[in-house]
Symmetry: C2
Subunit: 440 residues, 2 copies
Amino acid sequence: MTYFEAITQKISDKAVKIGVIGLGYVGLPLAVTFARNGIEVLGFEKSEKKAEAVNAAQNYISDVSGSDLLKVVNETKKLIATTDFSRIKECDAVIICVPTPLDKFKKPDMSYIENSCIDIGKNMKAGTFISLESTTYPTTTENFMKPIIERESGLQEGGDFWLCFSPERVDPGNKDYKTDNTPKVVGALGEEAKQIASALYSLAIQHLHIVSSPRIAEMVKILENTYRLINISLINELALLSGKMDIDIWEVIEAAKTKPYGFQAFYPGPGIGGHCIPLDPFYLEYIAKNYNFDLSMIHTAGAINDLMPYRMMNKIAFALNRYKKAMNGSTVLFLGVAYKPDIDDARESPALLVMEQVAKKGAKVLYHDPYIAEVTDEQGTRYTGSELTDELIAKADCVVFATNHSCFDAKRITEKACLVVDMRNVVKSVAIEDGKVFKL
Amino acid sequence: MTYFEAITQKISDKAVKIGVIGLGYVGLPLAVTFARNGIEVLGFEKSEKKAEAVNAAQNYISDVSGSDLLKVVNETKKLIATTDFSRIKECDAVIICVPTPLDKFKKPDMSYIENSCIDIGKNMKAGTFISLESTTYPTTTENFMKPIIERESGLQEGGDFWLCFSPERVDPGNKDYKTDNTPKVVGALGEEAKQIASALYSLAIQHLHIVSSPRIAEMVKILENTYRLINISLINELALLSGKMDIDIWEVIEAAKTKPYGFQAFYPGPGIGGHCIPLDPFYLEYIAKNYNFDLSMIHTAGAINDLMPYRMMNKIAFALNRYKKAMNGSTVLFLGVAYKPDIDDARESPALLVMEQVAKKGAKVLYHDPYIAEVTDEQGTRYTGSELTDELIAKADCVVFATNHSCFDAKRITEKACLVVDMRNVVKSVAIEDGKVFKL
């Protein structure tokens, strides 16, 4: 029996054992989804704390159902987490779900993928199928992963192991689309890999879209998020101009949305956040340099985005200025620090960048976020959230809506506040005192 | 009875007489739509030829139904066209549907709107409602139109006449959305104007979206088309990079489209065409200068678009080069010169710009377009379309798909051709000889 026949048989018997490297917001939902479908999953995690939490069925990812986790850990025992990467040898397939951050120079930090490939190469058995889900620049699977795994394992891609890229499409907080019902793009290297990938992911995912190569799949994910970056940057730029022209950009967007074809609405804000849109386009910008190619749209969009927190800091300063107050010495209360509404994640949140700038200019910065008890900004300054009392609102020289959590009571807050800067159109339906609310 | 009461009464009695200035691809469908709904319409047109055609019920706009035109001209006699602008005094409401081109320096040519305002101001009676549908920069209605009409008429906006901006949303060739069932954004100046606009347009349009001012409505149209410009430019830039990286951008787009939220597909091509997307964003860029504001996204997107015809010329040159042929002396056959599929309009078509460049480099340029018998490029060179015979295809050194008309038989053309440059993914489903087809 060839390696190919062996793994194919195991998948068809649902006897395949899958390793998932990285039990974060991508890996844990994926591991649970396979386990729920009766597949044995070994979750590899460098953090002992996380591995222990999983094994105690303690959920730490809001998109994972706690009861699902309980079931696959305690009841069916299909999911086990481990910090012992030598156990990769037990797995027939390994799926990598590690971060690919950017460093301070917007260069992709490939160390997580690299280390995963080394762990796999050192420990895997021949005949293993390996899939990468982490967003990265096109050609990573073929030109970056493959040589590392071949070097570490002494095995040959194609005959001894197979490679695949299948981008995660996790949208934190999305109520409709979860891991299992979000169509999944799969790009494997070679015909055998394509067949294995298709059979394997079909065990847990409802709709697969098979493309002809890993680099196509790598580009797909970047296109999706570059589309978002440039459209958010465009609307931010138009919002800034609209402010000067006495045009309410939010009203413009609502009206444009009535066009029944050829338009998709994006909304302005203090910048972009999360773990995809601020990063993914810059992987492509990085690899494009290798082809002497300047991605001017990404570059321009990135520049607009980078400036937004400063523009927002200015907006707060000039709102205070209207009341003859300086930023220095004023108290500024931020409402919402999550990077998007109704989630508990402040990673890459533009609110933090605005807070940092406002604090630098001498303001006393407070924040309230019902989902986030404390945050640390990029400079390491730690903030503890405040309770949203009437006193707190009233005593702030300026209240800033930085995230539009749906639980915010815009009417109450606007009434109690002496000055509001609204970066998210939270105050839209409230009759507002002229000059009291400054909208983006 | 006040002017306001008078016009309101006439609208409610369907006894209002509407003047439509400009009987082009916006004005004629609008005039016919009102007339179909039993409203008397006087169509004003500088071109005697067009006015005569309308009065003879000879249709020249493909989005207008010939039988509708016949009915409102010959049967109900609700639509009459005239070149006599003094008859504006017969109208209770006047709707301006004239072009707003850009000059060679991408400065808006406001002369059509200006002349319409002069014609209206000189001829209208007091109590006239005036609406502009031509795309233009925000503040045009208030700051450009109003003073001209007041000066020419001696009347006062608000009391003696009313102003409104309601952008046309005509999408030539769209089978689902026509003038009457495309939601219409309406921004009038003042409360009375808002009420009149709403009542008047409701006579013929199914869904109105009323916004608070003309400048909001002006910005809406620009946002819609700027969105398209920047997304087409992005995908063109990514297509050029993808070519260098051996990535089929068309396959990438098809895969990205499987994302069920947060993505809208745009396709690459030799540039953008038509009478909206290449123009509208630059009205905004023009007025933004007045606010010392640089619209970097529009600027960057415009630059990519401007370069596309040259890139496409290069693509053709290097495809020929593969067969050791120089552009100079080669015969290049363009298939499709319309700016989008299945329409008969070559205005601002990028195909023409590519043809111009290819001809400049010494190639013999031929074209075939089933919908367009002859075209003239920006330099005034006139081309007559050829019949698409097997001989014509075979004798061309290079066949270029410049527009993806759905009637093109990609298989036949690719088989007969010795070399194909495909800028529109026409050849996608055909088994292609390696090296014979060069895709964008």
